[in-house]
């Protein structure tokens, strides 16, 4: 009798029908909603104030960018219509395209662009470098922005078109006037979706509605570039702290899209004919073992290199990721499959040879100083990395002290340059999303201990090579410089590299139009 209804819907109807009539808002409208389980809770809304990827993804929902990366990692115009460069390469003139409108109805102007880029330039690493090389940035008229460089700088479009945190999103000038170290409180953007502030429940729900006045570009979508066509009326992000519940909800049809299911849930999801599991991010993530270059024993490059020699990527990936279809070995510091991918120095790291590592360590005169490894037990992949490293280092002959903690504690402690006895550390593990380490300008590759990443590597030749990359002209020249950077990184044993792994997405069969990209976008997706 009720063949057209599931038992669940029948029960829901019986329960809800007579009791909820009073709550019905009238005749229901045909509204399409994409129900998403995001990879994290959206805790804050300012993509310049924080580098959190979830806030970056939120930024892409509601803001637009001047340029955007396509699937070949080439910056393409997005809000910009036309642009030109002076003969000496120092003056860049950008003209905004027609129809750009903020969600409050105001037009997007060059003044908004200037204010937004200036705020971004005070927080983002690439932004800081761009502005360090900039003489002026001005609005010439309502639609024209002029950037004048102080000297030769080859990464203008790569900077303002960068795909990952911090993305130079364009905000209204009044919003961009906020101190970059304070959070914005006005969330007016000009992107394809509108943030519904009154429906935001931190830790639970974020609601976006389609921005009807958004004018997409005509080019086909390609990663972050091309026409951003919102094909659903509403996107609802519901954060699930529990992966198993999230998986069950997707299988039960209570949500449509699961952004980052744990790899070990993939077999269960794949067994469901209504669900597709696939890798949507072609770059994936790069596992890193980071040394503290300031403290013994890793203040000695030869000791670091001895440790790296033992780090067989297959062992890390098998322990932390599991299924080989979600990982591969990669001996380039730039993600394999990207333009700067190369194999310089890979002979040192590709073998994972414990005996060779033992011999190398013996030559250093290592005195048995314990290696303190910070193990974040609340992040399974990093916890596994830590344990694999501990085992390998012990086999090589290191004294190892694994200290368990949560990720918040680790992020606080890794900032300490003090000796271990005063709260310092020797090693931690992390991963970078591929898009963040795509070229030598990534902070992970810094050789300047004053402005560099935790671990504080120091190498003047490395910094020279990175500076050369910033002014490199041709693609060949960039590749050449990238190889020099990689050579320096392996020579000084900056970090151990643990493999390239991929998080799948999972979605129900009625979801169409996913965009292949390192960042999950929600335009172009329809519900059928």
């Amino acid at each position: 009798m009720f063949g057209w209804m599931t038992r669940r819907s029948l029960l829901a109807t019986l329960l809800a029908g007579p009791l909820a009539l009073g709550a019905l808002p009238g005749v229901a409208q045909a509204e399409t909603t994409l129900r998403v389980i995001p990879h994290a809770d959206l805790k804050n809304l300012d993509p310049i104030w924080t580098t959190a990827y979830i806030t970056r993804n939120h930024g892409y929902m509601i803001y637009d960018t001047l340029f955007a990366m396509n699937e070949n990692f080439e910056p393409q115009p997005q809000m910009v219509d036309t642009w030109e460069t002076s003969e000496d390469g120092l003056t860049w003139t950008f003209v905004l395209r027609d129809g750009l409108t903020f969600h409050d109805g105001a037009p997007v102007t060059a003044t908004d662009v200037v204010a937004s880029l200036e705020r971004w330039g005070k927080r983002d690493g690439m932004g800081q470098q761009l502005f360090a090389n900039t003489a002026s940035l001005e609005a010439q008229d309502d639609k024209t922005v002029v950037l004048t460089l102080a000297n030769d700088y080859g990464l203008v479009l790569e900077s303002i078109g960068k795909i990952s945190s911090n993305v130079p999103f364009i905000m209204p000038a009044r919003v961009a006037a906020t101190d970059p170290f304070e959070q914005i409180t006005d969330f007016t953007g000009s992107g394809p979706f509108v943030f519904q502030a009154d429906e935001w429940v931190p830790g639970s729900t974020v609601v976006y509605t389609k921005f009807d006045d958004y004018v997409p570009r005509e080019e086909p979508v390609s990663a972050a570039s091309g026409g951003k066509v919102a094909k659903v009326d509403k996107v609802v992000w519901t954060y699930f702290p529990d992966q198993t519940t999230a998986m069950n909800a997707l299988m039960a049809g209570e949500v449509d899209f699961f952004e980052q299911p744990a790899n070990d849930l993939a077999p269960l999801l794949e067994a469901n004919p209504d669900i597709t599991v696939e890798v949507n991010d072609p770059l994936g993530n790069i596992g890193f073992a980071r040394f503290n270059h300031l403290l013994p024993p890793f203040d000695n490059a030869d000791v670091r290199r001895a440790a790296i020699m033992a780090m067989k990527q297959e062992d890390y990936m098998a322990a932390a990721v599991g299924d080989p279809k979600f990982w591969k070995t990669c001996y380039s510091v730039f993600p394999c499959g990207t333009p700067l991918d190369n194999d310089v120095g890979s002979e040192v790291i590709a073998k994972g040879d414990i005996d060779a590592a033992k011999a190398a360590l013996a030559e250093t005169g290592y005195d048995g100083t314990p290696v303190v490894i910070m193990q974040p037990t609340d992040i399974p992949i990093l916890s596994a990395f830590s344990l694999v490293t501990a085992e390998k280092l012990r086999n090589v002959g290191f004294e190892v002290d694994v200290q368990a903690m949560d990720w918040s504690t680790l992020t606080s402690r890794r900032a300490s340059r003090d000796p271990v006895a005063d709260g310092g550390w020797n090693m931690f593990h992390t991963w970078w999303i591929g898009a963040d380490v795509i070229d030598p300008m990534a902070i992970a590759f810094s050789g300047n201990p004053d402005a560099g990443w935790f671990g504080w590597a120091e190498d003047a030749a490395l910094e020279e090579a990175r500076a050369a990359f910033a002014v490199a002209g041709s693609e060949d020249e960039k590749k050449q410089v990238a190889q020099t950077v990689q050579d320096r990184l392996w020579s000084i044993g900056a970090s151990g590299q643990l493999g390239q792994f991929f998080n799948p997405v999972a979605y129900r069969s009625n979801v169409k139009g996913l965009i292949k990209s390192p960042v999950q976008f929600f335009w172009n997706i329809s519900i059928e």
Binding site: T6, R7, R8, L11, A12, L14, L15, A16, G17, P18, L19, A20, L21, G22, A23, K43, N44, L45, W49, T50, T51, A52, R123, D124, S165, N166, D179, F181, E182, Q183, V201, P202, G203, S204, T205, T238, F240, P241, D242, T244, T245, A246, N248, A249, A252, E254, D378, M405, D406, W407, S408, T409, T411, S412, R414, A415, T430, I443, A444, A451
Partner: protein, 314 residues
């Protein structure tokens, strides 16, 4: 009675002050730093320092404490470091699911456990009694999340009669959808209380059934049902109600897990997320709030003794 209530209410003040001081100091002494979490991987030491400055975390602890207490006196629990929303607003957004889950759990647990315990006591030593006690031991032994997953697998994934997750407000979506979504979490969270209350009810009723006035009632020819309901259960109620009060602390712990398993946007999840992110104002505000609730409920339970047992006077 009025004097007792006044004294009890006044006595909560030093308790709350101690809780506030303890929570504040524990959080500041614990490792972890929200500024580092906010700054992320790209930040320089100067960036982290500037964020700490902006958040007021670089001030001396005494200054931070006095600033917090000053705001607290004015009813301001502070502002979330991450979301920028007032803690009171965040509690307001989350309190309904937690309170209703707690209420349905207590009601369901009492409705099931008291009859179970009473019957077990009345038939002490019988097979029925052993089954009830077996259930009680099992209820204590099975972790909430394990039971939650078993129920989800059975009723949501296999039988497909209840939803996996979520919460619907009875005030917005109606009572039916609310009941539809709250059933599994309630049953999950109730089991440990059913076990606790059933055991206590059984023990209390067995003790009361051996009292002289029960023998007198039997001698007067009263039915067993009347003896059980009018004399035994009412006299056994004080320890049972006491256990319910003690169980509130257990409930708060259980709510955190249950809300995670069933994806209910309540206070339990709010505090868990805040702890992981070191969002100090939320943690401080919520622990104070939970402490107040705990003290308030226990006051209500103490007062209820006078209704249950006229011999008790304050």
């Amino acid at each position: 009675m009025t004097r007792y209530i006044t004294m009890r209410v006044l006595s909560t003040i030093p308790v709350m002050v101690l809780v506030a001081l303890f929570v504040f100091l524990m959080l500041r002494l614990a490792p972890g730093d929200p500024a580092s979490v906010i700054a992320g991987d790209y930040a320089t030491a100067e960036d982290v320092a500037r964020i700490r400055e902006q958040l007021g975390l670089s001030d001396p602890i005494v200054v931070q404490f006095l600033r917090w207490v000053g705001a607290l006196i004015q009813g301001d629990l502070g502002t979330s470091i991450f979301s920028g929303k007032p803690v009171t607003e965040l509690i307001g957004q989350r309190i309904e699911p937690t309170i209703l889950l707690a209420l349905t759990t207590i009601i369901f647990a009492v409705v099931v456990a008291v009859p179970l315990g009473t019957i077990a006591a009345f038939r002490a030593g019988s097979l029925l009694d052993r089954v009830v006690m077996l259930f009680s031991v099992s209820g204590f032994s099975v972790p909430v999340f394990v039971l939650g997953y078993i129920l989800i697998y059975t009723f949501s994934m296999s039988l497909k009669i209840l939803p996996v997750q979520g919460y619907k407000s009875p005030l917005v979506e109606g009572f039916g959808p609310f009941l539809y979504h709250i059933t599994l979490p309630t049953v999950t969270l109730s089991v440990i209380f059913i076990a606790l209350i059933a055991r206590m009810t059984r023990a209390s009723v067995i003790e009361v059934l051996e009292e002289d006035y029960i023998r007198t009632a039997r001698a007067k020819g009263q039915s067993e049902l009347t003896i059980l309901m009018r004399h035994a259960l009412r006299n056994a109620a004080v320890p049972v109600v006491t256990v319910i009060g003690i169980g509130i602390a257990l409930l708060i712990g259980g709510v955190v897990v249950t809300e995670s398993v069933f994806n209910i946007p309540g206070l339990g999840r709010l505090v868990l997320d805040a702890v992981l992110a070191r969002d100090y104002p939320i943690i401080q505000g919520l622990i104070l709030f939970f402490s107040f609730i705990y003290i308030f409920i226990n006051l209500m339970i103490d007062l209820s003794y006078t209704l249950l047992d006229p011999r008790i006077r304050y």
